[in-house]
């Protein structure tokens, strides 16, 4: 820890507190293609921000910048900033430890990706990685996380079964519980329901609305109805650029840009 007092920040826009903001964000893949062009976008506290746009528009690339997932592949390059509040820290800075970032900004993937371990161990994983070894603490937090992901009732009698034995929807809720266990501040969802059936999808959507009471959510979705149903803010991206970002109600009823309207009404995309 630095001895001096850190300067913390609290910004507001649309009457909501900014939790994180991207500033002039450019992103280049190792082969030189530019996937993001000067993206400026806010993520608000206790709100769901949805990213929509046609395939290849850069929305997943943008999402994955928030927990430095691109660092796993050599040659990828960020330009610009993603500032996390209240720390007022650019999490893309080379001096920032991506592991610390991922501990505070967790992620749920498109396809459920539980680890080849028991249900219990899947949820306990993040805590164990952080050095938690006390069984009582682990038991408590695992239960809390599974309840938070509304999976507890279904799995409480078989916590030590292999996670792969769960259904797809349950596996995805397990992945949410896993991400929840470490009490993140922001949760990233990369098309979390695209591999699930309609009932499992509704479960996940209800869960997200519940989760936003505790944290901020950024979600990529291909499903516009989903974006309209669950999000508070919505951003339309096209060819690596942010076309429009506004309250979801406004985007879906009265978008200010023609391209957004075309996409939302299905004339394009």
């Amino acid at each position: 820890m630095v001895a001096t007092q850190r300067k913390t920040t609290q910004k507001k826009r649309f009457n909501d507190v900014v939790k994180a903001e991207s500033r002039n964000l450019d992103f280049y893949y190792a082969d030189g293609t530019q996937a993001l062009k000067n993206v400026n976008l806010d993520v608000y506290e206790n709100k769901i921000t949805a990213l929509i746009g046609p395939s290849g528009c850069g929305k997943s690339t943008f999402l994955r910048s928030f927990n430095r997932m691109h660092d796993l592949y050599t040659g990828n390059r960020y330009d610009g900033q993603i500032v996390l509040h209240p720390d007022n820290t650019n999490i893309l800075d080379k001096k920032v430890d991506p592991i610390e970032v991922r501990m505070r900004i967790s992620m749920v993937f498109q396809k459920p990706n539980p680890f080849p371990k028991s249900i219990y161990e899947n949820v306990a994983y993040g805590l164990r990685v952080r050095g938690e070894a006390n069984t009582h603490v682990l038991d408590e937090k695992v239960e809390e996380a599974l309840k938070g992901a509304s999976l507890w009732e279904e799995v409480k009698d078989r916590l030590h079964d292999l996670a792969f034995n769960l259904s797809g929807g349950q596996q995805q809720r397990l992945c949410i519980a896993r991400a929840l266990a470490t009490e993140p501040e922001i949760m990233l969802f990369d098309e979390p329901t695209s591999a699930l059936d309609p009932i499992a999808t509704v479960n996940i959507e209800e869960l997200m609305s519940e989760l936003k009471k505790k944290l901020s959510i950024l979600i990529v979705t291909h499903n516009m109805q989903q974006a309209a149903r669950i999000s508070d803010y919505c951003a339309y991206m096209y060819l690596g650029e942010l076309v429009e970002h506004d309250l979801t109600d406004k985007i879906f009823t009265n978008p200010s840009k023609k391209e957004t309207e075309d996409y939302i009404t299905g004339k394009f995309g």
Binding site: L72, T74, F109, F115, G126, V129, T182
Partner: protein
């Protein structure tokens, strides 16, 4: 709803089966079957020869004596046939080899799969696999002329022929088997699993040890089984450097013959053709076959038990 009524139809010449195409297909299918059957035939033939030659031996020496006696002296005046004297040599050298190869091979695999850059991996892997191509007789001399003398500088009482030196060298020999197969298994773990672990804030090492290795268990265990089979059947290294004297001992610094080393010495003509001593090599060979068979079944079972589903 329409009611199905069979209609009178004709076979249009355009749609009729081609005799030529069918004939060629049949020939190809037959050829493939013959090739596949050949391997089965050879295996059966080997088992047949071993069993049929071993039967007269077991008429002379009881199976009980063969499996429980600890002295193996077919070419002495008092002949005793206790295979344990040979099995002990095989097991001891194999155990030493595994002690070297399992940690070394697994760590190499983890490094290559999870840590090494593309360039490093593409450089190291071919070199490692080159090790497989080194003739085992070279490894044998390496054990006898280099490793044992080196071990003697640490432990001066070590005899020239001992199980420790060849065991270590055998371990080095099988490192590439374990490294290569385990690395393939770990690399086959989908990237989504890695991303999941990293997204939880895991380090590379935590991801490798707690997620990737468990996910690849079946492949890793399979590589161990392959390595054990390879070590049990290894002949030249132990024949050259471990000695030819069958002794019931599990002490690595002792000299002892393995099953394979014994078979070599007899096959080279120490014993007359057709005698009971000669037939003993078939009994020994059969023992070896059963040992590797058991290992393979075990490997198959383990692989099934730990088959990964992602």
């Amino acid at each position: 709803m329409a009611i199905n009524v069979m209609q009178d139809t004709v076979i249009s010449p355009k749609l009729s089966k081609s005799f030529r195409r069918n004939f060629i297909e049949r020939i190809i299918e037959f050829g493939l079957l013959i090739s596949a059957a050949f391997a089965v035939f050879i295996t059966t033939a080997i088992v047949y020869v071993l069993v049929s030659e071993a039967i007269p031996f077991f008429e002379y020496v009881s199976v009980y004596e063969f499996l429980t006696d600890t002295v193996w002296t077919p070419n002495y005046s008092i002949k005793r046939y206790g295979i344990l004297a040979l099995i002990s040599g095989t097991l001891t050298t194999t155990f030493i080899a595994l002690l070297v190869a399992v940690p070394l091979g697994t760590i190499t695999a983890i490094y290559l799969s999870e840590f090494a850059s593309h360039k490093v991996r593409e450089t190291i892997k071919p070199i490692l696999e080159l090790l497989v191509g080194v003739p085992t007789v070279v490894f044998g001399y390496f054990a006898l002329m280099l490793v044992t003398p080196f071990l003697q500088t640490i432990y001066p009482d070590l005899t020239t022929f001992n199980m420790l030196g060849p065991g270590i060298v055998m371990g080095i020999m099988i490192v590439p088997y374990i490294a290569s197969v385990s690395e393939d298994a770990m690399r086959a773990v989908p990237m989504s699993m890695r991303e999941g672990a990293y997204a939880m804030g895991a380090t590379r090492f935590q991801t490798a040890i707690r997620v990737i290795a468990p996910a690849a268990t079946s492949g890793i265990v399979a590589s161990y089984i392959l390595a054990i089979s390879r070590a049990v059947g290894e002949t030249m290294i132990v024949a050259i450097a471990a000695g030819q004297q069958p002794t019931f001992t599990f002490n690595p610094v002792d000299s002892a013959a393995t099953i394979t080393a014994y078979i070599v010495s007899v096959a080279l003509g120490d014993l007359e053709h057709g005698g009971i001593g000669y037939q003993s090599i078939f009994a020994a060979g059969l023992t070896l076959l059963v040992m590797t068979l058991v290992l393979n079944i075990l490997g198959h079972w383990v692989r099934k038990k730990y088959t990964e589903r992602y």
